[in-house]
Amino acid sequence: MGFVRGMFWKATAISIAAASLSVPAIVRGDQATPTYQDTTKTTSTLADLARRAAEGGTVDTPDTVASAPIGIRFSPSYLNLISGDVNSIGMKNAFQTTMLTPFGSTFNFYVSADERHYRLQDKFDENKQLSASVLHVFNLFTSGSIGFLDSRVFNRSVIPGGGFQDYVFNDQSVTASGLYKRTHRPHSTPLRLLRFDATATGAAVQGERTYKNDQTLAAGGFGGVSTELRSRFLRIDARGGRRETWDRSETSLAEFDGLGSREDSLSTGLLTELGDSIFVDAKYVYYDATRSWADQAQGSLGGQQGGAQNVFEETETRSARGTVIALRAKVWNQLRLTVTGNHDSQLNNYAVQTTRYSNTVTDGLKGSVLYTSPWRTVATISLENTETLRDLGPLSVSSYNDTRKRVSIGFRQRVSKTMSMDVSGSTMLTRSEYLDPVANPRDRDQVDNNVAVRIGSRLHPNLETSVSLSYLGSEIINIDQSQSENNRTRELYELRPAFIYTFSDRFLISQSYGVSIEHTDFTYTQANNFLDRNLIFTNKFDYRPTSRIALIFDYAYNFHDNGSYLPDEVTGNEELSVQGEDRRDRILLKLDYHVMSRAVKGPLPADPVLERDLWFFAEEQYSRFEDRELTSDTKRVTTDGQIKVGARGDYDFGNGRSLTFSMARVKRFSRFGSEAEKDFWDISSAFNYPF
């Protein structure tokens, strides 16, 4: 979360037109291997739309004025998305149209319906959205917009006993905004360049929630100015804004009038050159807000209590201040320095639910040096110290000071045209000191060290190699005796060589080897220590016998044993006692047949090339796991796998019309899991048709 998360002009300045064009990523592939890059649902399009509707959005205006079109341009388009996998199957239909007029107006209309049925659970999602907006550019400097958004989110789950649990989040909003932007002033005498802009927004929102209905009127104004001096390099900018809302809520039992919010914000910045190659960059941010709304009653730790009788009026106060000063210097061509200091404070206070109070104050200092030696070694050194006070109020015993110190060093050397080496290392201490250690004895220190070396080389035109060696060490130290039983050190060593042999354009072999040793040692209990050793080997053959056929054979092997260092009964010396061994083998076979590959070119040289491709594919995965308990001399073998057969294709019809699809039947076998998980269709398609 950013420091100025509540700055409404950042959060709400999202173009309705742009958002309605965005297409959510198609869920595809094996659910057993989810991607971890974007898993939080707060970033979903629907969530963003619903939140924007609730907060009252504004419409972005273009940065530059487009050349006026001749006549009226009408651009409707239809989008269909289908996705299905082991977890769910869903479809989204969307229609959008844009109309450009010669008078500088752009009309956008968007309607969509999205349904998802879950296979492994009794659940159903339905989300609908309708939006309309018009953006009018009056002249080079002035534009305005009006928008309407209707967002409907509905989830239904079947609960034990057969009843339904519904979740409703509906919003209808009307927004309006005007923008005046002066980005260039050619005849200014003392100032070489002056830029400024100002925006006014207004919104009305009707919201429907599970236990209450909300109505909101919102108005806001914000703007900014930036300038540069002629005589020497100096750039100053400032932005400020204010937004207010007037709200009311009603439940089946009560009405709440006189609700609302107020937000003020100011940010300033200064960038100047003090001397040759020394730059100072300073920023200050200020944000204040109060909000009164109809909240759901909560327990001391936040558990909501459902029902209209538990809705009450809550007032929240937020305050944030932030100062950052950075200095960048180029001492010589080979040596560059950067120093950054910051001081932030963030306060959240509540009138009723006072246990939610928090005040966070952060002071940070960071310095880094980048040095390039005459023999082309690039060295970086950075030091960082951050202290954070988290004051969680008098009703909490959790308030603490957090200190983080970090030093990191890195070297990069290109030994020859075909060989390079990277070395990096860092040490970090994290220290937490609670303000009331008697009531809350959780003081702790943690030290993390890591060192990594990587050497990459092309030994032969057809042979690429790399070797990486890394060490990771952590020490967890709880100070108090009530917590110190888990004090431990963890060390991880890894050695990973890898080779890629390119025999020809049609045949390639990739091999990687690995040795990994992890040791966890509990400080105060001698017998509590764990050693895990892994030997890893992967071998991948990529063979293309013809231009249309691709074959992949991938084999992976992993041998692992685990044990502990235990005292010998006779000598008392610690000796390794291996308790278990396991071996895993994994095979992947994949065949791709490129049935159709066309590149259709129009008659004119400027005509685009239309790609049309169709593949059939088949894939087989097999895993075997053999687990041996050495102490009891028992062995357990489990296997699993899946076969996937299907087709995928891309078809470009031209004029932006396209169809992309993938459809495969998947059959899995394993000891556990429901039948629905073992036999399913894995499908995805996107059909885009501009009229």
Binding site: M1, R5, G6, Q31, A32, P34, Y36, T40, T42, L46, A47, A50, E55, D125, Q165, Y167, R291, Q298, G299, S300, L301, G302, Q305, G306, Q334, L335, Q346, L347, N348, R356, Y357, S358, T360, S373, L383, V397, S398, K405, R431, Y434, R442, D443, D445, I476, I477, I479, Q481, Q483, S484, E485, N486, R488, Y524, H560, D582, R584, R586, R624, S670, G673
Partner: protein, 196 residues
């Protein structure tokens, strides 16, 4: 000259690291504290045993062992859109570090914690298991007046074998329970306090 300067800087850094990174002395554990000892993570089910033990004995360091370095948490859509979090992306970038900060705050303000996981296997592969986990969490807080808050929901837990140890990589909240908040909602509230 440049080499000398570089070496000097390196020397300063190394010298500083020696004294700056000293840790405090810990007190040996109280044999009567009834804490949560080390649990080996050799089977996927060990994850639940270790988490329950760590939570109920309020040992955050034991909980930390269960989490993968690439741990991710995802809330239900209901929690994500809740009005309490209006204007904040409170669930964004929920990593292991965030999870541990939030857990420590929960344990610090809790007098007692009771948890009940009832996992069932959805997907079982040699190095990956996905569980469907209906859960209940009961927290008695230390603040005055003391009260008891109950949370419940259904989550999917992805557990992976990492170097021989099974660890939790993905906590995906999927269902709510009528009239009760989810654990994910509690996490959101706590993170809001840590990173307002």
């Amino acid at each position: 000259m440049a080499t000398r300067l570089g070496l000097s800087l390196l020397g300063v850094v190394l010298a500083m690291s020696g004294c700056l990174f000293d840790t405090r002395e810990a007190r040996p554990p109280d044999p009567n504290s009834g804490g949560c000892g080390a649990i080996s993570l050799t089977t996927p089910d060990d994850v639940f045993e270790a988490m329950t033990c760590a939570l109920e004995s309020e040992q955050d360091a034991a909980y930390e062992r269960v989490l993968s370095e690439r741990f991710v948490f995802s809330p239900t859509q209901e929690d994500s859109l809740d009005q309490t979090f209006a204007g904040t992306a409170v669930y964004a970038n929920w990593t292991k570090t965030v999870e541990m900060d939030v857990l420590r705050l929960m344990l610090s303000d809790a007098q007692t914690v009771a948890v009940d996981f009832t996992p069932s296997v959805l997907i079982n592969q040699t190095t990956f298991v996905r569980f469907r986990v209906p859960y209940q969490l009961v927290v008695v807080n230390v603040a005055t007046p003391t009260d008891t808050t109950r949370y419940a929901g259904v989550a999917q837990f992805d557990v992976r074998n990492e170097g021989g140890n099974w660890r939790l990589t993905f906590w995906d909240e999927i269902e709510t329970v009528p009239n009760l908040s989810t654990w994910g909602y509690l996490k959101g509230i706590l993170r809001l306090r840590l990173n307002p």
